[in-house]
Symmetry: C2
Subunit: 200 residues, 2 copies
């Protein structure tokens, strides 16, 4: 590596620092944010659980509600249930193609949303994770307007994360940060089973 390359790099980085610093100076609001993790790729729920770990590291309190999942043997649940400051609720009935019972799915989603509303009104909860909430809109289990109203009325410092495919437009519009997890490829397509510690 030549000195010249190093010098070019170093002066380019000095210019970049000015630009980055100016942007950081402009971002000065401090408040709770609404995050949405959507798309067909892996990582929507795991990114929410990574943020949960991060929040706990800062001494925050959090609540997690899983709306579709019914299994209680996942690594994330086993792990986070042992942590103080986390409330964990598995309130789904399983995938819709497993239950094959729309009335049952609907009742489960409404019960989950009632529980969510308790946390969304509680200033002692710093982070609320609503895992797979978007399916509640796809299947008509919940009214999007009522959900957005509850988000808007939450304590100002409270963060919310919503996960699930096909986030509705109005949810994206209401959110502060939205990531589309796009599937470039998935091990499952190549014949690899869902591995414990990776997929659940």
């Amino acid at each position: 590596m030549s000195d010249e390359r190093n010098q070019r790099h170093n002066s380019r980085m000095a210019r970049k620092k000015e630009v980055v610093d100016a942007k950081i100076a402009q971002a000065s609001q401090e408040r709770g944010v609404l995050l949405v993790h959507t798309g067909n790729g892996k990582g929507k729920s795991s990114a929410a659980f990574g943020v949960l770990a991060r929040a706990l590291g800062h001494g925050h309190s959090a609540a997690v509600i899983q709306l579709v999942k019914s299994r209680s043997d996942t690594g994330e649940e086993g792990f986070f249930r042992q942590q103080p400051n986390v409330k964990w609720h598995v309130m789904g009935e399983g995938f819709t193609w497993e239950t094959q019972d729309r009335e049952k799915d609907l009742r489960a989603a409404r019960a989950a949303w009632e529980q969510a509303c308790v946390y969304l009104a509680d200033p002692a909860i710093d982070l609320v994770i609503l895992d797979e909430l978007t399916y509640a809109f796809k299947y008509g289990w919940l009214e999007l307007d009522a959900v957005l109203a509850a988000f808007a009325a939450r304590p100002p410092h409270q963060h919310v994360i919503v996960t699930g495919r096909a986030a509705p437009e109005a949810l994206v519009a209401a959110a502060d940060t939205v990531t589309e997890m796009g599937m470039v490829k998935h091990a499952f397509q190549a014949g690899v089973a869902a591995m414990p510690g990776i997929e659940f």
Copy 2:
């Protein structure tokens, strides 16, 4: 909700279950996978830390190496350092535009990679997370071929997660699961500061 809608839903789900079950039956290999989280959106590192929590919930052992990050006050580090079965190394020198010193960045990346190689050869480690590794290729700190060779030679059950923007094509080709975290929007653009518990 009419009975008719429920019945239509239930029979559609019965058909879907057949398709899903057939795909699951075909995915029967059990082995370590290489995951890549790339793209410009939020969630690359947090999804890796969520998978880490999941793995720990299954009693797995893990090692995390942060290649660019130099700060040691993040929520994730504070949290995971308290957990048994996690080795955590912050081995970066900070963003390239902060160091403005290519030689220093290069030395740090090579030291981090040496540490990574120890874990990639250790069958007692179930999961290795190489956070922000892709920047090592962008800036020419590491040779991609050597990195891919070390991945290929790792213990067969070991999972690896690589994060960072602009994953090189050959890394994507070698990976089992690749997610492109696309930025739809980010709170930072709307003037919200990096919030503890969310961004770090």
